[in-house]
Structures are given as C-alpha cells and as structure tokens.
Symmetry: C2
Subunit: 429 residues, 2 copies
C-alpha cells in the first residue's frame, strides 16, 4: 500500500486512486512510488524537528543527487548535468528528435526544517510516471526528461531558483559565485568543494532549447484543493511578489530609567509595521508577512536604537501588490521608518493554451494561481511553454515538517503526470 | 576649564560651580578632574559609534583597572582587591578605626556602546573629591575608601552587579563561574585568563563589614534634574523591577501561499505583546520595554513558528509593577502566549536617615528614586547604610554614546561628594 512515510504522521487507508489517476486507465505501481519515497526519507532529516535541511551543495544535497542519478540509471535514462548542476535524465535523444522534449521534475533541496514534499514529490512522481509508461509499453515520439533543478529554495545563499535562473540568463554568474552562506562560504567555494567548476557558470541556451514543454508537479502550498474537494489542480500563474526592507529609527536609552514620553523606541515602530503589513494585506486581499526582524542593540534592558523588518508581499495582480506596499509605507512613515524595495518579480503567466489543455485532460481540474516562486515560472519567463500541477495538501502547510499529502493523492498526481506525458510525447504537438 | 571631553559633543561655558559645590567652601581642582577624565577617554571606545565597550575581564576593563590602581597609588591610597576583583582604595586603615569606613565610588565597566559617564563619573568624582580634601588638609577620623566594583553592568555574562552580589552572598559562586559570554567563555575562564583565581569566589563578609556608609555618585539616567533645574539629587530608592520571557506560539508556513485566515503567525502575536507592554506602562505610570526579540525560523519568506520577546518592567512600587505585568499577561494570552518570570528584584530602599541627612547637607537637594539597579542597592539589601547622589544629565539619555553631563555639573557633583565625605569622615557617626 502506498504510504508517504517521510513524515512522523502515520497514514492508513486504501490506496484508491482518484481524480486524474483513472485517466491512465489503471493504477500506478504503488510499490515503486513507495520504494522511491522511502529511499530518501532519512536524507538530510533533522531527528529533533523531523524537518529537512537539504541545502545546495551540502552532503545531504549531494546524497539526494546521487540517489537521483542511481534511479535514472536503473530506468535507462541518460543523465546529463549542465554547468550549473541541474540534472537532466532523458528518455530518448533530446537533440535527435523533430520536436523539443517534454520535461517534468522539480527540485530536491529544501528550506530549513522543510517538509518532505516540496520538491521531491515532483521528482518522485516523475520517476513513478516513467515507470508506469514503461510498464504500459509506451514509446515516446518526443523525448521525455525528468529534471532536478539545483538550489531552488535558495535557503543557503539567499537567492531562489539558482539552477533555472542561471541557464536562462536571469542571474549573473558573477553575482551567483559571490553569494555567501551564513558561514561566509561563497557559492563558488561550495560548488568547487562539491567537485563542480563554478568558472563555467553562465547561460546555457542549448540546454533551455531542449525543453519544448515543462510541466512541474508540486505539492500545493495552501488549502485551495482541500476546499474544492479535488486531488489535483493546474497552475496558471505565479503572483507578482517582492521583498522590502523596513528600517525603523530609534534612540538607544536605558529601559529602567527613561520615561515613556522621552522614548524613541524602534521596537514600537517595528511592532506597528508588523501589524500594518497584516492590515494592508486584509484590505487588498493580498499577502504580507514579516518573518525576519533585526533589533539593535538587542539588550533586554536597552531601548532599541534601530530595528529592521523584512516584508514579503504578494498579490494576485500588480496593482493590488503596489497598493498593499503603499499602504504599509504610509503607515510606517508615522514612525519615521523608511521602506526600500530589495527585489520585485512581476506576475508570471504560464502558457494559456497549455493550461487549458491540461485542465481539460485532467478531468476538468481546477485552475489556480500561486504566490510561491518555482523553476516553472523562471522557464516561463524565458519563453518556455510551461505550467504546473498541484497535489492536494490537507494541512495547507508548507515549508514545515507538517507539510503533507495523502498517499492516494500522491498516486493521483503521479497518474495525472503519466497521462500528461503520454499525451504530450505520444503525438507531435 | 573643566571639560568632560570623552564624548564627541564639544562643550563650552564657564566652570561656575553651583549647588552643592559651594558647600565645600571653594572650587574643586578643575584641572585634576580634567586630567582624570581625559586619561580614560579612549579606553575601550569604539571609533565608529563613539560608545564604550568595557566588558568585564577584557583588555579594556583591565586597562581601566590598571589606570585606577595607578591613580590610587599617586594619592597614597592603599589598594586592596577582594577575591571577586573589586578594587578598594583606602585612605586610612579600614581595620584599625573605631568606626567602619566611609566608602564612595562606582564601576568602570560599560554596556555595549555605553556612554562615558555611567560608572566612571562616580569613580573620577571620588578621586577628585579626595584631591580636594587632601588639598584642604583634611584628616579623616574614619577611613575613607574609593571602590571600583567589578562587572556592574553584566554586559558580558548577563548578570549585573557581579562584584557586589558576590561579596554580599547574593550570587552563588558556582552559578557565577558557570555564566557564559556570547562566545561561550565562562566567567571562570575569563577571570583565570585575566590572572584571577575564580575558585576563590564567594561571600566576603569581612570586606563588606569595612563599609560603614556607602554613597555612590552616578549620572542621572533620565531627565528628572533637567526638569527641576538642579545639578544634583539624592537617590532614596530603586524601583522594584524584573525580567519576563514572553513566548508566542505560531505555525511555520510559506509566506507566499498561506491565506491570512489559515495563518498562526508568531510575529503578529509578538508585535501585539510589544504594544501591550507599552499600553500597560501607560496605564500604571510604570516602565515596560521589549528590547530583545527572537523569531523562529527567521526567514524572510517564512511565517514564524515561534517568537520570544523579553520584557523589562519596573514601577515605583510593587503593586504597580505586578499590575503592569498582569495586564500584559492578559493581553498576550489572546495570542496564546505564555509569560514566565526570569527574575524579579523587590524595591530597594536606601537608608532613610542617611538620605534625609544628605538632602539637607546638599542645599535641600531633591530626593528621587530610580528604575536602574546599582551596586549601592545590592549593598543596601545586605544591610549596609547606603544612598546615592545623581548628577544632572541634560540629554536624559544613558546606555548610549549620547549620555552627557555638563562640566559644571560634574564639578558640582564632585564638590557635593567632597562635602559628604568630609562630614561623614570628620566626625564619628
């Protein structure tokens, strides 16, 4: 029986395959999925929290890459690594076909204390879908590929989607090489220590050109499918999003002697900024989060001389995002705070025709956008025909050990993916 | 002309001696004060911030101690160091007199980025007052002592007033030895590295017994004297105060995908706790400050799974302090937060008779309490007759490079101290 056994939560129940699964005309090999899943359950897992710490170019990441290479070899897929370290496992010759390849996959790295599904579900589902197609005797007319993008989360060096950004030219190799982790190690040093040659980093248009269509399967990072009672959805867009730095001034003083009226306490302004962000998100039906705060000097008996709060804001469209940030800016200005944009990514729209075709193919699957960035979005911005498939997450929680998908939903996602690959690679499109 | 030249702020104006200064019948030697002050102006000073970093048992602290020893030798004072490292410089034999000694002084360590006056003003004024008495040909009938208490601020190991707590038995030597600084160095290791023998730490009742009366001069850490238009005040009490840990629960999740209604964001509860503390202090005319916050996991795109805020609260009396904390507890309970008392120090009352006598002697000086802890409070709690003299602080700011006292107010404080020493040590009391 299928069991996504990587989290502490036990799971039982029938492996009844629902939704898109029936489209392939039969069950996915459950034991194959189970085997794939359990092989990586302990890699990079923190025994205390149960969360994963699979950061780029660390031992855990290299173990995941080695596991992936072994599974590809077992299936007779040709593994090619580009200069950035993305792993491409081809079924068929990517350079010898009339049409560019049908690519699926995701990433194998994690955020700090991440869940088991964010990334690996897309890779494991892809390998299991290949198994299903092979078991069915399917012969692809277009080459099929399973990709593992390197450093999608950016947990170690602070910039996400390194692998897809680099090959599409969206990230400068000089900037990437100079990024430093918390210990001061540069990405160049980390890559070299792991056996790679960072001097070869750069755009790789010939690698991108092999991707005719990219469909990334991913655990849903919210409760949209729970509310709809469906197992899978099709992703059509990534919300515009960005990161802002809010700097709140104050005046250092003694917490035990300074009258309230004489204080300029940066922590008070910081607290107001946090609540202003939440209020603005409620006003504009957007998302605004403060997850990182730095207080100076940070002593228990010290009135703070300065505080910095980082704002993550996202919205369904550009105007809602701008309005959200503008409202926060107005509010924090009353504390003398200054807001600086650190990064902003415009809305990413996936290929409309591909999205519609997928939704129709997958039993009229619901179509939804997401606030989270993905390699699929980076490829779409580079002109690749791309879309995503989301798998139901009953907790709605992601980037946490509580992240979860029921075994039958993992099966449904895999079945949907097999259907999509068979349709896309079975005919010239 | 006298000039407290240790801060970046330039100072001018006449050195007219006001207030208590006239009680000694003449000017304090300005050049002596100036010389003492300028000798330590650069020790442990951060060139960027202009603040001081004189932490216990560091090189800066040892330089201050060495300077103090040299100044005592110049004046013919007998320097005795107890086992904790407090430096006692005696004028007269502390064990050969009919009455126990008249002790003044303060401390020479600092908070991070501290001001020039908190601590050193009390030591420098004491030495300058001794100079004045000697120049006047004064012969003490009771022994007089200038003390430098070690590690008053607790900036390095987290516990304040180490020197006075240890000798009075208010701090366990085992606990003290095991305290660690931010680099993980224990106090025992730090003392040993500086040439002391931490195994000898413990109560020293014979050292405390030599202190018949203790009067500590200190810069005011607020604007009480500014508002009153006076240069010096007498301190009669230290407010009850304490430290509480507020732990706010949350649930880790993805900042880019989790709906507002699905969030349990610890940072929101933390912000409410900060504002609740301020509101409670306003309600009860007390002080409540959050100066240190810890957010987990602390990622910009992560909804926080937990937050800890440390509350420093103080009030003029026990009931106001309890009411302040209780109101904060009720408020943060709505976020599911738990409040734990880390430490609480009851009100410290100085010797009433001494306070009245000082106020009368010093030209009807105003009498005021303070929210800050001091070695004088530790000694008072150990049964020593103690009080304080505060010197006007025009900025009202302390624990900051902006801390300041005008040269003429430093002179007034020194003159007041000379008067007090002469009166206390000139007759048997």
């Amino acid at each position: 029986m299928g069991s996504c056994s990587a989290t502490a939560r036990s799971s039982s129940g029938s492996a009844h395959v629902t939704d898109g699964a029936s489209l392939t005309g039969g069950d996915i090999g459950e034991s194959a999925f189970e085997q794939l899943w359990s092989a990586i359950a302990d890699i990079g897992r923190d025994p205390t929290t149960g969360g994963y710490r699979r950061f780029a170019w660390t031992e855990a990441d290299l173990s995941m890459r080695e596991w992936f290479g072994g599974e590809c070899a077992t299936r007779g897929l040709d593994l090619v690594e580009d200069q950035t370290g993305n792993q491409w496992a081809w079924w068929g010759d990517p350079d010898g076909a009339a049409s560019a390849g049908v690519v699926t996959g995701s990433h194998l790295d994690s955020v700090p204390d991440g869940g088991a599904f964010d990334g690996p579900l897309g890779v494991v589902s892809a390998l299991a879908a290949i198994d299903k197609l092979k078991a069915d005797g399917f012969q692809p007319r277009r080459p099929i590929c399973v990709v593992n993008f390197v450093d999608e989360e950016g947990a170690r060096f602070g910039v996400s989607c390194i692998g897809s950004r680099m090959i599409t030219g969206a990230l400068s190799p000089d900037r990437a090489r100079a990024l430093r982790d918390a210990e001061g190690v540069t990405m160049a040093e980390a890559m070299r220590a792991a056996g790679w040659q960072p001097e070869h980093l750069g755009p790789e248009p010939e690698v991108v050109a092999r991707v005719g269509t990219f469909v990334e399967l991913h655990i849903e990072q919210g409760r949209g499918l729970v509310d709809l009672g469906r197992a899978v959805a099709v992703g059509n867009a990534i919300w515009p999003h960005g990161r802002w730095r809010i700097e709140i001034p104050g005046e250092a003083n003694h917490a035990g002697t300074t009258r309230l009226s004489d204080r300029r306490d940066a922590v008070i302004g910081c607290a107001r900024a946090v609540l202003a962000a939440r209020a603005a998100a409620e006003t504009y039906d957007s998302l605004a989060t403060v997850g990182k705060i730095n207080i100076q000097p940070g002593g228990v008996n010290a009135i703070s001389s300065s505080a910095t709060a980082w704002l993550d804001a996202r919205a369904a469209d550009e105007s809602a995002l701008s309005a959200t940030v503008a409202q926060i800016e107005r509010e924090v200005a009353t504390s003398g705070a200054v807001v600086t944009e650190e990064s902003r990514t415009p809305q990413t729209a996936f290929d409309d025709a591909l999205v519609s075709w997928l939704a129709n193919l997958l039993d009229d699957a619901p179509v939804m956008s997401t606030g989270a960035g993905h390699d699929a979005g980076i490829l779409a911005n580079a002109g690749v025909s791309a879309a995503m498939i989301f798998v139901r997450n009953p907790t709605g929680v992601s980037h946490s050990p509580a992240e979860w998908a029921e075994p039958e939903d993992c099966q449904a996602g895999t079945a949907a993916l097999a259907t999509v690959l068979a349709e896309l690679a079975g005919v010239e499109r």
